[in-house]
Amino acid sequence: MRRPLIAHPLAVSLVLVAVVFVVDLGLQLGVASAIPYTFAVLIALHARPAWAAPAVAGLCGVLTIVKLEISPDRGTTEMWKVLANRGLALFSIGTTTLLGLLRRRAETNRELAEERAREHQAALAHMGRLSMLGQVTANLAHELNQPLAAISLQADVAVRLAVLGEPVRPELSATLGAVAEQAARAAGILKGIRRMAGRAHPGQDLIDLNDAVRVVVRLLDWKVRRADAQVELRLGELAGQTFGDRILIEQVIFNLFQNAIEALTGREGVKIVTIVTTETAEAQTLSVRDTGSGLADTEKLFEPFFTTKADGMGLGLAISRTIIEAHGGRLWATPAKSGGAEFSFTLPVARPEES
């Protein structure tokens, strides 16, 4: 709600009504009293309770008529004119109230809608952060798992070698045994974290890659126009069925497409992003190709927190790869023939006997 113009609209409005009534009684104003009465109604419209304005309007109407009873002195004015003036006053009070109420309702609706939109946006952002946190955790757990596997295995081997050695040093094999035990313990903790991070199980929607591409292209249309780039869609016919979490897959396409546009922003010359979808019996492939400056290293890119952007976190590609691999596919980068970069991912096509 906006800050009200007047601190206590209902009280102010009632005071105004009283003042106008006293003045109306004392003077022979005729229709002129209607004008300050409508002000009172307008002020009452700002009061929080919805009944305030109609109540004040009713009061004003009653007082307009009551004045005739209390102070019938009408001077030289003819009776029909007095009645007509009072009627006009009632009409203007009524109209003001009606229009004011209608406007008030429209405003309330708009405010409600705005509030709902804000809430929705906040929820989306929150979910995005949560899902990102989950993905980062899963990614981190996986990355840590590799060195841990090496430590655990090497420690076990060392225990064996220590026993084989001459002379046997019991302290050595005990120490190495402790290393192996602790590595196994750390691995157990990681496994728990991975399980928790993976609990929000991705959905199993039927995914139409071409459809997802169109959704993402529409979402980022403004960015394409700002970069003054062109988008070329070469969407093949996809007959096979792929399953997964549609939102997550769209997120991956979004990341790849956004990267491609950003690679073109501020560059001279040809600026084209090409999105290609193809299909084999085993998998559907989507490639996003740009005509930017290309890639230095096609593997380092996927490491978490690796970034070439000033304001980047370096998580987009790492998360995208985690998402695609969780769907049984692959995500990789190659230098494009056009000189830029090309990012591709596959999604396995469900075999009929599985579904």
Binding site: P147, L148, A149, A150, L153, Q154, D156, R160, A180, W332
Partner: protein, 198 residues
């Protein structure tokens, strides 16, 4: 050719740990950083087993497994994976992996599965070799000997064969003896078994 333990894992630290572990079995160990490098170096005649990481950039472990199956290479595979979900495990097993180990695993687990894989490969290759030898021996028979062989397998006596072929019982016995010698069988039972393994 000596049975070799092949290792394919893109993570250098894990690869080195697998080499140390494999060396404990007193077998040659060959390690590769990618599926492509392994495919380029490996020939299906090479006995051994393969310790294979599932998650790798480029060709994944499961894809390499399929490629090997397509090439007719039946090397037993011990799959290792950082995150073994049921679907992956089922797929790996369907295509003939010996087992799927979830990283990190203990040395004992790994060694016992690698030993099993080596044994499986040895058994499979021995059976294959015998199969090939049997085929060669049977192929060396003359058409007349083959005729007799089929009759023996059909359960006919020497007399019945002699009547059927229009030769003397003595000639049948001669052919029969030559045949037994050629295929290196000592009894009819062995002969029939030989035919059955074809």
């Amino acid at each position: 050719m000596e049975p070799t333990i092949f290792v394919v894992d893109d993570d250098e630290a894990v690869r080195r740990a697998l080499i140390s572990a494999g060396t404990l079995l007193a077998r040659p160990v060959q390690a590769f950083a990618s599926a492509g490098e392994f495919l380029a170096a490996y020939s299906p005649e090479q006995p051994g087993c393969l310790v294979l990481d599932i998650r790798m950039p480029g060709m994944t472990g499961l894809e390499l497994q399929r490629q090997l199956a397509d090439n007719g290479a039946s090397i037993p595979i011990v799959m290792i994976s950082g995150h073994a979900d049921v679907r992956t495990a089922v797929e790996a097993m369907t295509f003939g992996a010996v087992t799927l180990l979830e990283k990190p695993f203990r040395l004992e687990e790994l060694l016992s599965h690698v030993r099993q894989a080596l044994d499986a490969d040895f058994t499979a290759r021995a059976a294959q070799a015998q199969h090939a030898e049997t085929g060669a021996r049977l192929a060396a028979l003359t058409p007349k000997e083959r005729e007799v062989l089929e009759m023996i397998a059909g359960g006919m006596t020497n007399r019945e064969m002699a009547n059927s072929l229009g030769i003397s019982v003595r000639a049948v016995e001669d052919r029969r003896a030559r045949l037994m010698k050629k295929v290196n069988a000592r009894s009819v039972a062995e002969l029939v078994q030989l035919l059955a393994t074809r």
